[in-house]
Amino acid sequence: MGAYIVRRVLWAILLLLVVSFITFVIFDVFPSADPAAIRAGRNATPALVHQIRINLGLNKPFYTQFWIYLKGLVEHFNLGYSYYNSESVKSEIFSRLPATISLTIGGFIVWMLIGIPVGVVSAIRPRSIFDRVLMGGSLVAISAPVYFLGLVSLFLFAKGTGQLQWFGAAGSYVPISQNVGQWFNSLILPWVTLAAAFAAFYARMTRGNLIETMNEDYIRTARAKGLREAKVISKHGLRAALTPIVTMAGMDIGLLLGGAILTEIVFNVPGVGRYAYNAITNSDLPAIQGTVLFGAFFIVFANLVVDILYAFLDPRVTYG
């Protein structure tokens, strides 16, 4: 197990290196706005732009730039400085982290709290009216993109702009340390919007897995033992049906981060996602790099956790 974790961590580091290299190459090869020109402002002289380009090191070949970046990263855990405003990318990301963590963890909880119970309820009475309504509704949720769902939810439920003035509107986010009630209220719509498609997809997956599991021989054995049906489902059925769901969820957390970018923009939440969006519009390579690495790190980390967790969930799995 120890050797397995070490091996996985080494692979993760290599993967992150490759990811940041690819980001550099893409930025260099594909046309984008000139960061020096953006930095210099509207009425800048060519000399000023040139000076900025030299200051930012943009005149050097991209592999040299990459090497400098890598050195800073490895030696000082330094993610560089924004081309746009010279702020440290690391401190910019860290200062926005609480908002993004609030959004994604809350979104993940809503995702699981809706997805799994809905799937279970549907699976227990397959083809009932209940099942059909829930599965039909989930199809709608899967099909609706985050930005559409977000705007609709703002139109319907947001204070100020909505038909029903229930929850916090766009831009109402405050840190949890400041006001817990407002923090919670401002994130309800973003959480539900972010989680909707995932919850719907997982409801369908849970339903399918559980229906399949309930036909297994060991479920018949559990019934033959004389267990209550509720216990047959909740213990023997779910134990087997949810194990693959946990693995899937670990991999899909990456997608959740992607969804968080759109959600943060729609609801004007000051998080890493919106920072990434601004970085891309400003051709701000260090900021793009920082957010890409940040995202990649969390995906790799979540996958590692899930793979280790899997050995505890399924005793047949061993790591060699």
């Binding site: 021989d217 033959a224 004389g226 267990l227 005793p315």
Partner: protein
């Protein structure tokens, strides 16, 4: 009075292809300390009959009629809670494939403890001690260590022993064994059958043995019922069934057993054709499409299960004398049947 009496049991399932009539008017009885063998091909309704006894076929699409009398009560009409108290505790069941029948994510010991604690309000440590005793009594070596094993860490024979330990941990009156040896190696098969026999003798448990293997029946059953298309075609004490079988289907089954002591020239004769559809069964006798002797009335009406002699029931239109004569001539032709 028999321990368990099945009376005119009918089980059918609504499916998208039509109504599957899996069991049609089966009546069987099982006495204490006895072993009843139920023999038939796949789809003959033997497993459905067995599972219906303890209510495992109560699916939303199932229709079940008839009676299953146990301890003066009818299990078919019994409500789910009362039936659950009997299931596992007084009537236990083991299944064909012990790997898929044990939950892969739970330790074997835990699965047996769970069975005990479902029916008896005993502390965990006492249930554990009893589980270890049960594992020991079915011949699992070092049961203390095996308690913590997962099913995939055991061999097939070991798993089936663990299933038997689970079934017998609560000392049931009846053990229903649904093809308990089919998924096992031949050498292990014999061990498991011996184990079931020994437990029956030690604890007085009645056994209902579902199998397609007449060799297994010859080995350990007191009475035998031959099932086909959801019906009993012939029912008799074991010796009678093997010495003087009276149904052409039973003859076919006996002829299709490979025998090491048979002369090489005596070829195996499988029964021609395949089991009938349970959605659209043939008219008249359900065996008539495969029967070499079909009398004309068998195409029109289904024969009743009638006594040929006391204790020997046969569902066939052929006259008793004719059946005896046919069996004698078959024996002449095939020395292996003697």
């Amino acid at each position: 009075m028999p321990l368990l009496e099945i009376e005119d049991l009918h089980v059918s399932f609504k499916t998208i292809d039509g109504v599957v009539r899996a069991v049609e008017g089966v009546s069987l009885s099982l006495d204490a300390r006895k072993t009843l063998g139920v023999v038939g091909e796949s789809g003959s309704g033997k497993s459905v009959t067995a599972q219906t006894i303890i209510g495992l076929t109560r699916f939303p699409n199932a229709t079940i009629t008839g009676r299953v009398m146990f301890d003066g009560r009818d299990l078919v009409s019994m409500d789910a809670d009362h039936l659950r108290a009997i299931r596992g505790a007084r009537i236990a069941m083991i299944f064909q494939d012990p790997l898929s029948s044990l939950h892969p994510f739970f330790k074997v010991g835990h699965q047996i403890v769970e069975a005990i604690r479902t029916h008896e309000d005993v502390p965990r440590d006492i249930a554990k001690r009893r589980t270890i005793e049960a594992l020991r009594s079915v011949g699992i070596p070092s049961p203390e260590e095996r308690f913590d094993s997962y099913p995939h860490e055991m061999s097939g024979g070991m798993r089936q022993r663990a299933m038997i330990a689970m079934a017998l941990a609560l000392r049931p009156d009846i053990l229903i064994a649904d093809e308990p040896t089919t998924a096992l190696d031949v050498t292990v098969q014999a061990q498991v059958l011996e184990l079931i026999q020994a437990l029956r003798d030690d604890f007085g448990t009645a056994v209902m043995l579902i199998t397609h293997d007449l060799g297994v029946v010859a080995e350990m059953c007191d009475d035998v019922a031959v099932m086909y298309a959801g019906r009993v075609l012939e029912q008799a004490p074991r010796e009678v069934l093997f010495d003087e079988p009276q149904h052409p289907y039973t003859w076919g089954l006996l002829q299709s057993i490979p025998r090491l002591d048979a002369p090489r020239t005596d070829r195996l004769s499988p029964i021609a054709g395949s089991p009938p559809s349970l959605i659209n069964p043939p008219h008249g006798c359900k065996f008539n499409p495969r029967c070499p002797y079909t009398p004309p009335e068998a195409l029109e009406t289904e024969p009743p299960l009638a006594p040929a002699e006391p204790g020997h029931l046969v569902r066939c239109h052929l006259p008793v004398e004719e059946r005896r004569r046919l069996w004698q001539s078959l024996r002449q032709e095939h020395p292996a049947l003697r």
